[in-house]
Symmetry: C3
Subunit: 267 residues, 3 copies
Amino acid sequence: MIGVVTLTTDFGLADSYVGIMKGVILGIAPGAQIVDITHQVRPQHVQQGAYIVQSFAPYFPPGSIHIAVVDPGVGSARRAVALSTPEASFVGPDNGVFTYVWRDGLARWGVEQCVAVELTEARFWLPHVSATFHGRDVFAPVAAHLACGVPLNQFGPRIPGLAEVELDEPAAEKDGSLSGRVIHVDHFGNCIMNITREHLTGFDTETLRVEVAGQRVTGLARTFADASSGTLIALFGSDKRLELAMRNGNAAAALGVDIGERVRVMR
Amino acid sequence: MIGVVTLTTDFGLADSYVGIMKGVILGIAPGAQIVDITHQVRPQHVQQGAYIVQSFAPYFPPGSIHIAVVDPGVGSARRAVALSTPEASFVGPDNGVFTYVWRDGLARWGVEQCVAVELTEARFWLPHVSATFHGRDVFAPVAAHLACGVPLNQFGPRIPGLAEVELDEPAAEKDGSLSGRVIHVDHFGNCIMNITREHLTGFDTETLRVEVAGQRVTGLARTFADASSGTLIALFGSDKRLELAMRNGNAAAALGVDIGERVRVMR
Amino acid sequence: MIGVVTLTTDFGLADSYVGIMKGVILGIAPGAQIVDITHQVRPQHVQQGAYIVQSFAPYFPPGSIHIAVVDPGVGSARRAVALSTPEASFVGPDNGVFTYVWRDGLARWGVEQCVAVELTEARFWLPHVSATFHGRDVFAPVAAHLACGVPLNQFGPRIPGLAEVELDEPAAEKDGSLSGRVIHVDHFGNCIMNITREHLTGFDTETLRVEVAGQRVTGLARTFADASSGTLIALFGSDKRLELAMRNGNAAAALGVDIGERVRVMR
């Protein structure tokens, strides 16, 4: 059976760009199960794309193939790459959009089981490659050939590493607090931070204070329904990161914050 | 063959939440045919979700499985449920989102053929259940197991009834008029009301008057093209409910009305 | 194997209209591979729909079936049609939405291999046809029966031609310049014009000037990355039409232009 191919892009939904990629995939791999993750990564926001890719990959069946196209450098000298871990394969531009999944893969399985190749074998691309739409001309056909069982090493030479985006890891401050950032704002206005449970080891979750945009929340809630309507809460969200939320409201709008906003967690 | 699983949520399309649910489904039921209905139910608007679920279910092949996640009470004491009628199965929170399909099912097939269970059998869930994302941890895996043929009674004990939202049925007034409400505004600005043909038995469709937001429409049109551009019309729409529309325009915007607006139909 | 059915509509994504069409298709053609192209054609903008349909069709595998529903005249006397070329079949209203693909088909394969029929055989429709939603009642079931292998001539009598929208071809001016128009603005704000390479035969791509909304660009770039951030450029885009773009910006917003805007290319 031909497997799952997912799509994560900044193409939006009003054009035919995404549909075109699907047509190309189905022409090469007729039975492929194509899944849209999102096409609303902020235009050319590679860092947000990297966060998104890492957020869903663990929930797909082994062997799934994930295309990510957030590609401001299309047509320039930036490389095109494919990588594979024991969990999944990934296809896209080498601009940092795979930073998280690559690092996570190396940490989890080691360098022996994480392979990256530069896409150089033009026989797996569309016959004519444009300078502006490698999603259609390179990434979709490569992913489709992967789905058909072509081994990764056929697509080009192995490369030792990938381009990475700055990951904005939280920093321990001298006063014992932790300073971090908002890395994603979701549809409900929940503000997701670059802070995981591990980062908060040693903090008391009942008394810690989260400070953002002049507002302060004390203690962590367990779920949205724990708070009264309109109250700002902090909790570990479904991807195990710290997030700010507002019951029956939009925390990002209420706070006036967006991706990049500084956050501080105090003991 | 593994069947159809549909998704109706208020998750929006900018995050990976919907994609994650699809990954979970495909991990359990690899050949499932997943169909998005909409992910733009207004955030936590259970009543609108209930309307949407009822609007599409009759058009799917028998045996389809419909997941609905509009779930402000996730992580609280609200139950998780699955139900089945001779037509379809439904999986989601027990908060009223299935009010219409449950009542319709009971009315059409009787209590013997409409079964609801509380989801209590954790072996059909993801191993770790979060407090904030039961769509991923409970509803998607249960729907996938249903699609694989696990019988409904395996998922938990039968329950006699479901939580229901207030349905806002139209009311007959003393003066012979009918008062109702707008229950959905669609992409074109058409305002769909809680009024069906049955409610207007005895009204003359050529002379009745529909009054909303200080505007009055006399008589019902048959289709949008019956009116001149920019004219407000009333007609029975594609789901057999009364709706207000504007040819080549947006009735909701022109009238300044939204879900909840009061409507009156006079003889 | 049952083939690919694509959907292009102006229905938006907030209602269940698109989901309903998919349910109808899957009820008739259970294994159909349904692909969304876009549901965000501007409401009732047939010309934009015609551009979109033509933009993706060549990238799908032969035999694919494309439904297009941008249908302001639903319920009126406008015909319903299906057409086929050696490449694909198309199903929708006869209002011009197939203008480009029909002309392209005739130009490429000749009248012998391009067949259009009026949809008159009600046995391939839903039992009840509403006056407002032929996407559900006529086009989806016809496309599904086509996907199951019913020959085109079963759906109704052959017709010699189709309704067409005005195509807004660019015009050669007396001073040797070419005047055209913006026919699509994409998610990135790129302004796509009705001007192809053929129209610019004899122009020097290094010295030509593109004038729009009082701004002038000299010479054509090869890709977005060729320009510095915020600079307006002109280039042949991925569908081989001339487009205006802004590196790391939104050309349409910066210029204040939209579909229909006049453009001039000077030698």
